[in-house]
Amino acid sequence: MSANIGAIPLTPDRAPEHPEHGDNYLTHGKGIKSWLFTLDHKRIGIMYMVVVLSAFALGGTFAIILRTLLWHPADPTAPNAAASYDFYNHVFTLHGAVMVFMFIIPSIPAILGNFVLPMMLGAKDVAFPRLNLLSFHIYVLGALFFTYVLLSGILHSAFGIHMPGGWGLDTGWTFYTPYSTSSSQGAVAVATLGAFILGFSSILTGVNFIATIHMLRPRGMTWFRLPLFAWALYATSIIQILATPVLAITLLLLTAERVLGVGVFDPALGGDPVLYQHFFWFYSHPAVYIMILPGMGVISELVSTFSRRHIFGYNFIAISSVAIALLGFLVWGHHLFVSGQSPLANSIFSILTFSVAIPSAIKVFNWTATLYKGDIRLKTPFLYAAGFIMLFTIGGLTGLFLGALSVDIHLTDTYFVVAHFHYVMVGSMLFAFIGGLYYWWPKMFGKMYHENTARLAATILFVGFNLTFFPQFIMGSRGMPRRYASYPIKFVTYHHLSTSGAYIMACGLVLILLNLIHSLRKGKPAPANPWGANTLEWRTPSPPPHDNFKETPVAGDPYDLHGWKQIPGQDEWVLDKQEHKTIDGPLHDPAAQPHH
């Protein structure tokens, strides 16, 4: 179908399912070394997926253990009560630290971003492929380090096995001083070093993505034709580069205090433990947006593709990503409303916190409006997008309770906060990640997953998630403090509900995993474009060849879905070029004309 000879080589209209020599990035090069030392962004993305999902499995296992421990309050008079509390404290620390540093932060950028971003830009690879590989190797190193410290603590606390250098961590993922410097001793320095190493991986990925988006956009892709997923990764990368070094500074100060006896955070040396909280949240609050912004980017893609509609209010969504990234730097103090921070600072941080709510609200309204008069396909990725919108709305709205000063005084450090951030981190970010994984899975492996099983798993996950975390809003409001190994019996019903929900969630996640594994072995072959999406990664075969594209594509409006038609009864969409036009302008910029 090469009717357009002489015209713009936009795309193979219908990408050949089997490229001439049958070569794709998965078969290009064999052996373990061809993976471990590859410079191919797609293979690096897949390797990230294996490691990051292993971290997710570890963190998830410990989530199940801690919910099981909380099924019923421990008997405080039992002879082993202190040991069981100690075990719980190690478990919740491992769960939080692994999930935050090893799963949520790298999940969407490192897995989906690495795989998709260069192809979305019609590029062969990221701007600095070697740096990309280095950031993966650094991630693995940091992850091993971090996991060793945490797991050795679990072994010690549960079985009395003492591994060299490992007393583990029972400080929570926040490592607040002076508890962290007085109790777990050396382990905190080692664990922070692990987080420090992981941070470098994050910074290098950020640098790479920014350079890639600046330098490798194809012809026709002006800034406001950049897919929203790329906008979100761009905003995320800015935060990664600017915020992560603060974590390194904090570690150096902790080390200086321990080694040189300089009082920074330790009151015994004349330091201020609240200063540590400022440092910590100056990094970790922006890090919250590292976690959620890429998810918002994924949702923008999913909502538009599956409602067969141009994304509503593209500019507002794109700009709000950047606005969230920048405003996210100005709100860290809302974690310290009861720490003794001055009332003036509290008031300023409160109003700045509300200001972040506005761009988030805009996105939710825009996604919802995109569905209006659409032609909605209830495919699995769309179910996750719809779930995301509902859960993120709850996560965002409950943030208002915590932003309001007087109410936060009551709610902070209770299960209300736990529920709130799980609605954002799990209900939103995890849903976006899984939705994105289903969406790009056919592109990654050239295989379709089983649709109805995937829908069933999505439903189970949604029900389980709400059952787990909604009761936590109630018990938190009613006064249940967080990080409690045991609790007053009056909260037991809520804990029963929450633990039951966690088991249901686990079933949903296992079903998702089984379905994806099954698709690798028995899945139907995926066409180049199973969804009729118009971003450039769908203009190349599934799985893509080593160099991504035979011919460099030229970009139009990424959300112009005109002309994409589904072949009846099949998972395949083809482009009718006559109908393909942007809604409010010509297909291509004049500047986008090739020079031959």
């Binding site: 202190a82 509390y85 404290n89 029972d170 607040y176 002076p178 508890y179 007085s182 777990s184 050396g186 382990a187 009151p267 015994a268 433990p273 609240v274 141009h310 509503f312 209010g313 507002f316 009861v338 720490s339 003794g340 009332p343 509290n346 008031s347 509300f354 200001s355 709510a357 506005i358 609200a361 919802t368 569905l371 209006y372 008069k373 659409g374 032609d375 909605i376 396909r377 719809a386 509902m390 709305t393 709205l397 309770f401 932003g403 309001a404 007087s406 109410v407 005084i409 009551h410 109630i474 409001s477 009613r478 006064g479 403090p481 967080r482 990080r483 409690y484 045991s486 007053p488 809604i583």
Partner: protein, 370 residues
């Protein structure tokens, strides 16, 4: 004010059972205001989401809908400006409520609150310590709390009052509260502080002024109302000792006090020492000086924080008396001299002790086993 508009009852599903401070009704009012606001927006978005999905779902053979506009500045400004205004309203009420919490009425009665892993100590009028480990305060009286920590960060959480403040080592944090009804409610530690964080519990007891006055009289000077032995037992239970030291021989986070006094204890890196008065005093004030083998923390130090400045000499001697009373290795006699005169001189020591004080004592039968 908001709660008046919303008609919030003082006892509601989403909030703790009791609402008993001057600020709690205001907090509940704002909570419910945000709750209904959130409910409205959640239902609005969910309704649109579900309605659009149903109405505009793909139908085989159906005609695609005429596409709507890709954006609408008017619409987008609307859903930027309306949330902005609502957020400012929420901020304003939160800010006002917070100012009420911050601005302390003049002439507030002061209570010092000290957090120690994993115990609360409440000190009145600069020196008198609550003898039941509970926070007693008078009703309808502004009370200011001055918070300090002996070790790590804790957080004093009074759910019934809707108040919370971190207890930070190296600085004094303050807040004030005025209880509006008598009765007892929970105190939690809300900032993670180690192994027994979840056991760092107490109660706030709101009393009538007359009851409170009685309480102060009671705790004013234990030397007038209690023997050192009784005081030692009270201190053991209220000052955090019981969190880590058992009196029945089971090892908890620290060594058991049963039969400890006068025994040989193995010390990390120092061989055995006799647990005499000097040793116990030193261990209370400088826990790292001699740590009992098997109870050291990962770096070899003690898991206990110093009670220097927390317990005075009378307190320490009272605790030592109590430890003596539960140790078979103590050969002296703690019976007050007055009662001792009445005892036949041949009576066994422990029997006279138990008769005199009613404290837990070691029977002669069990001591023969050691």
């Amino acid at each position: 004010m908001l709660n008046a508009i919303l008609g919030v009852a003082s006892n509601s599903f989403w909030m703790p059972e009791r609402s008993s401070s001057t600020v709690s009704a205001d907090v509940d009012g704002l909570y419910y205001f945000i709750f209904y606001l959130s409910l409205f927006f959640f239902l609005l978005i969910s309704f649109m989401l579900v309605a659009f999905i149903i109405k505009y779902r793909h139908r085989e053979g159906g005609k695609p809908h005429e596409p709507a506009a890709g954006h609408s500045t008017a619409l987008e400004l609307t859903w930027t400006i309306i949330p902005t205004v609502l957020l400012l309203v929420v901020f304003y009420y939160g800010f006002r409520g917070f100012l009420d919490m911050m601005v302390e009425p003049p002439n507030s009665y002061e209570v010092l609150v000290t957090g120690t892993q994993w115990n609360w100590t409440f000190t009145y009028e600069g020196q008198y310590v609550s003898d039941d480990g509970k926070l007693h305060i008078p009703v309808n009286t502004p009370v200011r709390f001055v918070l300090s920590s002996n070790d790590v960060i804790h957080s004093l959480f009074l759910p019934a009052f809707r108040l919370k403040k971190d207890v930070v080592p190296g600085r004094y944090n303050r807040f004030w509260a005025q209880a509006t009804e008598t009765g007892e409610s929970d105190i939690y530690c809300a900032e993670y502080c180690g192994i027994k964080h979840s056991q760092m519990l107490s109660n706030v007891v709101v009393e009538t002024p007359a009851e409170f006055e009685k309480f102060i009289e009671r705790i004013k000077d234990w030397t007038k109302t209690k023997t050192p032995l009784q005081a030692g037992e009270m201190l053991y239970n209220t000052r955090g000792c019981a969190q880590c030291h058992s009196i029945d021989g089971t090892a908890k986070i620290g060594p058991s006090w049963k039969d400890m006094f006068g025994s040989q204890v193995p010390i990390v890196g120092k061989g055995n020492v006799v647990a005499d008065e000097d040793y116990i005093r030193e261990s209370i004030l400088y826990p790292n000086a001699k740590v009992v083998q098997g109870f050291q923390n990962p770096s070899g130090g003690s898991q206990m924080s110093s009670f220097l400045g927390q317990l005075n000499d009378n307190d320490i001697m009272a605790i030592i008396s109590y430890m003596k009373s539960i140790s078979v290795h103590f050969k002296g006699d703690l019976t007050p001299f007055k009662q001792k005169l009445k005892q036949p001189t041949t009576a066994p020591l422990t029997a006279s002790l138990s008769a005199a004080t009613g404290a837990k004592t070691v029977s002669t039968g069990s001591s023969s086993g050691h």
